[in-house]
Amino acid sequence: MSTQAIPRHESPKVVFYNDPKIRSLFFQFILLAAVIALFWFAYDNTLANLKKRNIAQGFGFWNVEAGFDISQTLISYSAASTYGRAFLVGLLNTLLVSGLSIFFATVIGVIIGVLRLSKNWVVSRLAGFYIELFRNIPLLLVLYFWYGAVLSSLPEPRDSIAIPGDIWLNSRGLLVPRPVILDQFWLVGWSIVLALGVAVAITRYARRRQAETGRRLPAGWLSTLVMIGLPLIVYFAAGQPLGLDLPVKGRFNINGGLNLAPELVAMVVGLSTYTAAFIAEAVRAGVVAVSKGQTEAAHSLGLTDGQTLRLVIMPQALRVIVPPLNSEFLSLTKNSSLGVSIGYPDLVNVFTGTVLNQTGQAVEMVSVTMLVYLSFSLLTSAFMNWFNTRVALVER
C-alpha cells in the first residue's frame, strides 16, 4: 500500500480587501489618522485663537525670572530664580507630601483594617466608625479641619514651646536643628549603601540555610545591626562630618533651623487619615477573602496567631489588597493638589496657580501639569504592577 501525501489544505485565495487581517489594519490606521488629525486640529486651532486674541504662548517662560517667593523650598530658591526653578520646587513639594502621606496612610490603613476585623466588638466598631467618618467627608473639609486644628492649638511664636535639643514649636511650625552636610559625609553615604548590600546578603543566606538545613538565623536582627552599626562607626571614624544649624529666637519668629510648616503637617495628616479609611477597607476585604479553612489549617499545623497572619493569611490577602491600593495611592497623589486651599506650595499651587497667573499661559501650564501627574500615575502603576506580580499566586 503506497502512502500518499495528503495534499495540504490550502486556504482559498481571497481578494486582499476581503482579507480580515488587512481590513482590520486598514481601519485601525484610519482611526489613528483621524485621532491624530483631531489633536493636530485642536492644537493648531488653539494657537491660532490665542494669537488672534493677543494672548501669550510658547515655552519661552522657563528661563524668565519668577519674582515671587515660596514658603517651603527643598532646593535653593528665591524671587530671583526662574519659573523653571519654581516648577521644580513645586514638583518636589508634591513628591514630598505624597510620599510621606502614602507611607502614613498605608500604616494607619493597615492598622485600622486589621482592627476592623478584631473579635473585640468595641474595637471593631470604633474602626468601622473611623472608616465611615472619613469616607463620607469631602477631603477639602478634612484639610480645613486639620489645618485649623493644627494652627489654633499651637502658641504664637513669642510663646514658643521649647523642647530640649534646640527644638521649638509654635504656630509657624516645628523648628528643629538643620543638619548641614560637611566634606567627609560621602563616606557615610557609601557606608549606608554597603550596609544595605550586606543586609540583603545576610537575608538571602539565612533563607537558603533554612531551606537546606531547616535551621533559622535571626536574620532580621543581624541586618538591622549592620544597617545601623556600620554607618555609625564610619560616621565617628570620619570625624562626625555633620554640622547643625540651630534655630534661634528672633523678634517675630524663630530663625534658622529646619521648619516643618503647619501646612505640610496638616497636608500629611489630612491626606493620610483620609486615604487610610479607603486603604483599611481594601485590607479588610483582602483578609476576609482568604477562606477560614486556611486559618484552621494553619492552627492545626501548630502555627501561632501571629505566624498564621504573617505566613498564611497575609501572602494570600495581599493579592486582593494590592490592586485597589494602587488606585488609592494614585488618588492621594492627585488629591495633594488641594494644597493651595491651606497654603501648601505644591505643584498646582506654585505652577498652575501663581506661575500661570503671572504669565497668563493657561494652555501651556495646564498641559505640563497634566503631563507631570500622568507620569506620576504611570510610575506608581508600574511599581505597583511589579509588586503585584511578586505577591501574585506563584504556580508551581
Partner: protein, 338 residues
Amino acid sequence: MKKIIAAAVVAAASFGLVTGASAGTLDNVKAKGQLVCGANPGTAGFGVPDEKGNWTGLDVEYCRAIAAAIFNDPTKVKFVPLSSKDRFTALASGEVDVLVRNSTWTMSRETTLGVIWAGINFYDGQGFMVNKKLGVKSASELDGASICVQQGTTTELNLADYFRSTGKKYQVVTFGTSEEALKAYDTGRCDAYTTDRSGLAADRLSMAKPDDNVILPEVISKEPLGPLVRQGDDQWLNLVKWVHFALLIAEEDGITQANVDEKVKSDDPEIKRILGTDGKFGESLGLSNAWVVQIVKAVGNYGEMFERNVGPKTPLQLARASNALWNKGGLQYAPPIR
C-alpha cells in the same frame, strides 16, 4: 478606542470654546438682553452679594451704569463672581463681557492676557495689616515676619519686590482665596496680611474683631484699579471707557441723581452735549443720546457712587484722596465730551 475618540471630541470641543465671539460685544449684549459682568466674590464696598443675592459696591455699580447706558435699566446685569485666579481667563474666553473687580492695570496683563483696561475707577496701593498686639508701627519693622497673601494677584509680586529691595527677610504663605488667606492670618499663622489698601479696609471689617487689627501707613505699590474688556473690539472698549468718563464729567458739572431731570432743561452748551439735548454723542457709541441721563438716574455720578459705597460715611471710611477730581486735588480726570 471608543474612549480615545470621545476624549478627542471633548478636547476639540473645549479648544473650540476659545473661538467665542470677540467683535460685536455690544450687539451680543443687546441680543442677550443683559450685561454679564465679572465681579468680586466678596470685597465689601467694591463687590459683594448679600444673602438674597443683591450685589452692592463701587465696581458693581459700574456694571449697573453700563447696563443703564445700554438698556436704560440698571438691573439688566448678571454678576459672575470670579476669584483673582480665574478672572482674566473668564474675560478672555468670553464668559463675561466686562470685568470690574479690583483689577490692577499692568503692562504684562495687557500684553500677554489679551485684555485691555478702559480706565481707572480707583487709584490704590498695596499695604499691610497686622495685629495690634504685635506693636508694629511701620512696615520697616516686618523683618523676619511671615505674611499671608492671595494667589493670582499683583500683591504676590509686589511683596517679593518690597522685601528684595529693602533687603529684609520674610516668609510668604500663599492661598487660593482671600478668605483662606485672611483666616490663616486671623488664626495666627501670619504676622501680617497684605493686599490693596482698599481691600485691607474691606477685609478688616469681615474679621471677627476688626479693631484688633491695624493697617500700616506704608503704601508699597501703585494699584490702579479699573474696568477691563477683551482686546479686539474697539466699539465696546469705547463704550466702557466713556461710561467711566461720563460718571466723572457728571460730577465735574454738578449733575447728580437728584437734579439730572432739572439739568436736562439747561441751556449750558456743555451740559446739553453731555445730556444729549444737543449732538449725537450717544448714537456714536451705539446708544441712545440720553445715555448719560440714564446712567446718572440709575447710579448717580462718580462722587455719589464713591460716597455711597466706600466714602467716609460708610464702614470702609475711605477718603477721596487720589480719587478726588483733578480740580479738587485728585487724579480723576476725564477728556471732554465734544
